[in-house]
């Protein structure tokens, strides 16, 4: 079976990387703030979720910047599963999960992350908003 090389880095538009750094800087005195406590891969996944939830149009990166190492995703089975389910949900073709489609797989992820990052950053700026969202969604989930 042919071996395919998985990209080592997950990318995002550089402007969002910069914005994320700005938020981190803003809250650097508060190590308990979400932005300081969350790994980049979770923020990335969350951005993809936002894009899917609000059916946002995938956006090509004007200038790519890496945001996390894909190896980190591979080591975290739960996150990888969610990641795969999200990309499949967008592409609606299970082949996207095949190694031969690594490039496209990460490209879709990048575009979706770009699309949802604006909302994600906005939420990250306010811990209260995130907490409110977690609470509302949790209660909704349990009701269903």
């Amino acid at each position: 079976m042919k071996k395919y090389k998985e990209p080592a880095l997950a990318n995002i538009d550089q402007k969002y990387k910069i914005q994320l750094d700005v938020i981190k800087k803003k809250h650097e005195d508060n190590p308990e703030h979400y932005v300081n406590r969350l790994e980049a891969k979770y923020i990335y996944i969350f951005a993809i979720i936002m894009a899917l939830k609000y059916k946002l149009k995938p956006v090509e990166s004007k200038k790519k910047a890496w945001i996390f190492r894909t190896e980190g995703l591979k080591r975290d089975e739960e996150s990888e599963t969610i990641f795969k389910s999200l990309i499949f949900s967008f592409k609606k073709d299970i082949k996207i999960l095949l190694p031969e489609n690594y490039e496209e797989y990460y490209s879709i992820a990048e575009k979706l992350a770009n699309a949802g990052m604006e909302r994600t950053l906005k939420l990250l700026n306010s811990s209260d908003e995130i907490e409110k969202m977690i609470l509302v969604e949790s209660q909704k989930f349990l009701k269903n």
Binding site: M1, E32, Y34, R37, L38, Y42, I45, F46, I49, L52, K53, E77, E78, E80, T81, I82, K84, S85, L86, F88, S89, K92, I94, K95, L97, L98, P99, E100, I130, E131, M133, I134, L135, E137, S138, Q139, K140, F141, L142
Partner: protein
Amino acid sequence: MTLTFELDDERKQKIVFSRTMQIKRVREHEKTSKGAIMSQLSDFQFYIDSSGKYQNFDCIFYEGIEQKPNRDAEKIRETFFPGLVHEYYLIYGERFVDPGNSEKIRLAIERNCYSQIFEKIKDNLENINTVLIKDSITDEKKKKKYVELLQEIRDNNDLINTTKDELSTFDINAVEIDKAIQTIDRKIGSSGIEYESLGKKRDDLGIRIKSLNSQIKNIDKEIMGSGFKTLIGILAVNSQKNLELELGKRIKKGEIPPHIKTEFIDTLIKKKICICNRKINKTEKQKLIELRDENVIGEYYNEFLNLNFSLKSLESKLKSEVTDYLKNVQDVEDLRLKMIEADKEQENISQELKSLEKTKDLEIERKKFEKHKKDIEREKDMLNRQIQDYKAVVDAAKINIKKLGVINTTNRGEIEKIIPEIILKLNETKEAIITSTRKDVEEFASQTYKKIYESAEEVKRIELDDKYNVRVILKKSGKDVVKSKFSTGESLVFAISFLTALRRFSGYTGPIFLDSPFSVLDPKHRVKVSLNIPKSIPGQLIILTRPDTFEDVKSKLKEYTNKIVAVVKEKEWHSKMV
């Protein structure tokens, strides 16, 4: 009130006795050898003083407009105020006459009935005796010695009197200090123990708050970490379900794992033959290609199966994660509420402790008073020893006089007998006058108190015992009840009654100044007392009062009011008469 005396001498001296009103003397006062005579109100004129310095009945001495170093205030008061006026006829609110200070009351009564006059008479008699003896001595040497011994006796007697005066001042102070200590003790009461237990409670709460805080912090951290991941899980549920469904379909179809190897299909496509060795057409080839592509997924069947397991595991875990998250949130909320309550309680305790911290100050104050009391006791001991020393000198001088043998002169035998008898009688008379004055003051003060005081129906009488302790006897349910503690208003009424009685028996007729008598009374008592004061106090009354407390009583006092003088504040320290 400020009493300002301007002296028409070359130095243009002025003395300001400061309170809040200004008075100028318009007629020269006459000084006698015993002090100044009682002044009438017509001797004074109100005027505005703008010296700008007001203290609590202190004396400021001026020459021209220049303020001079503080002279002995007591001496100035003695000189410029008639003896009784400065001491007893000016009431400074409720604190002037303290019903609890028996020493002050004793002095007031004894001075009012001129008991010192008897001492003077006794001195004079002694002098007569001395002169007679001196004149009868023919031996010059003995005469000289006698005169020297007499002088020694006189000097030492003077010293004894001065020292006794000093002692009585110390006695007054000692009574005041005892009272202050008693008041402090009452204030401190059980608050010391309370302070300690509250302090412990506050410390315990501090530990509890710290522990709650750390619990909240720990759960918060957990919530923050798990919360976001849980949110991702919740929001990705549909995507996971879609993928799970897709995988399920494929598994059902047998694609995962694959029935056939992809390489084998590839070989068939390349060789363009079927398993049965038949040549395949284009359509069949296309089908084989599709089959091979589908089979690729099957080739990764391990990964997809794992993915399927992982999806199922995520699904089953998510519910408990969400439940745990919400439970943690609820726990934090509960802990926060507990912390708010603990914080509030701690705040309340801190407030209580703050108020109880006054206890500490009171204890410090008490120690100061105790120290002062000890100082006074030491001073009193010293003065008593001095008196004993002076008395010993007097006794020794008397023995020496006897030794001189000059007293046994025959021509003064009768006098020698009479004078001690007269002195004895004088002492008895003095005691009788003091006692009768005390009784009269007791009786009159009692009547006045009953007339003025609101609850007069309850008051039976005021008692002044032979030690000058004041008691109000109330009649309650047919029984006599002794009241020895006075409220501020009661103290004021007692003070007014007492000084009215003193004035009556002193023979003086000068006006009575009442400085802000109404402000210490509540509105209900104010009206009644204000109406009763002019009815009960004969003679002229000058009442100094603030407009707010005067409004309530203005109409009631109208028929007794001769003149109302308003002092209007123009600016700081400057007022004008209207």
